[in-house]
Homo-oligomer: 244 residues x 2
Amino acid sequence: MEGQISKTSAVEAKAGTASAEGGKGARGSQSLADRLFLTLRSEIVEGRIAAGSKISEPELARRFDASRGSLREALMRLESLSLIERKVNVGARVVDLTERGLLEIYDVREALEGMACRLAAQNRSEEDLGELRQMLHRHEQQEELQKGTAYFQPEGDFDFHFRIVQASHNDLLIDTLCNKLYYRVRMYRYQLGMASPRAHRAFREHSHIIEAIEAGDGELAEILMRRHIRASRSNIENKLSKQN
Amino acid sequence: MEGQISKTSAVEAKAGTASAEGGKGARGSQSLADRLFLTLRSEIVEGRIAAGSKISEPELARRFDASRGSLREALMRLESLSLIERKVNVGARVVDLTERGLLEIYDVREALEGMACRLAAQNRSEEDLGELRQMLHRHEQQEELQKGTAYFQPEGDFDFHFRIVQASHNDLLIDTLCNKLYYRVRMYRYQLGMASPRAHRAFREHSHIIEAIEAGDGELAEILMRRHIRASRSNIENKLSKQN
DNA sequence: ACCCTATAAAGTGTCGACAATCTGAAGTCG
DNA sequence: CGACTTCAGATTGTCGACACTTTATAGGGT
């Protein structure tokens, strides 16, 4: 007994912001609760629903012209992403953005993305390598274009990490990072607005990581990725300690 | 006779995001959906509801004398643990136990528990060290008692990994492992019935890991834990390849 | 015998309403 | 004047019913 592989998870990882308004044009096999979930996720990540604010089920239900039942399903999915917290008989609140929470995310990312690099190097396919090289080339041109200014915003960085993880071919890892953790990462980036000021350095580091993956050197790829993330963490840490 | 609540002795997790709420939460989590969730989780983990089997909402609702609404909430929570999979307009199935899925879990655990060890060594408190030593002592006596026979079943091993993760003091890490991933690990252990045949070796490895944490050597602790988990993974891998 | 179509059955998605609980303010007593 | 009790308002948890989709079954055509 073996064989059946659950490809179900990694598919949904679309970064594209779904239509903010309830334009019912969507064809498809997605439920109302599904659409509510996607919309609310965007609003929370982008801060249109403030971090730490209370969520009123009746109010949101009226706003989206849906029943409380469907809305509750959306809220529970948001809870499973740790974007909101629910207490019984009290209600739901958007999570707070804390310094500690952000640093904790970095530690987890260091571990998981390091492993993703190792696996990507071990299981590398010509197809993955092609996409990675292509992406790096795009980013290089972007960087040439706007010298020094933030390396195409955080989006370029996101793109990089996203594809590396995909190349690991470990569905659990992909799901944990791309479908769960990354939404909270984006929430921090949007709302604490940290455009990485490590433009050139970050690009070079990305480049070296992909080289290691190409060479099939999983150990090196892991080390480089962990160092890359830890540098980013230190950077944030300094920034935050100065702010206070 | 229904066991109702999981008798997960030493292994009961605390919800994530330990906000400094002074009074011990202590309030019974008395939502009906909550109880259904706990009951179903046990039944799935222990295999009383077979892996891969279809789940009928009306049938389960009748069986527990609850409405479909409450049951659906429980099911969605199970989905967020990856214990069941739901497809729109089709229904829910208990996840399959696949060789690939099991190995993927080991890779993720290697990354996360390795990091947990590193953090535990960095943030070690006298309280945590005391508990770890005490636990190790208990396990040692257990081992003396039943020489060689499976090191107090997998429970001892579980206890070890559980407490190490707690000692990391990273709430995200704790939540990811203890409140999410470990239930699937337990599901595999119960149903593929793999009592680790690495009794003495596992105990010695545990011992060395805790020594490294005591010494504050995060790097060594991480390396040892990763080696420990990788050995367990290889062990399983061999076992499975022989079975086929 | 096979394939396609149409109908019936079952199951899921969604909704509105009722009951239990919590929050907050007014009122009372020391 | 302050602390406790009481009560009203609002919110969450739970339920049963209805609409739509999927699936299984039976029938007819080639």
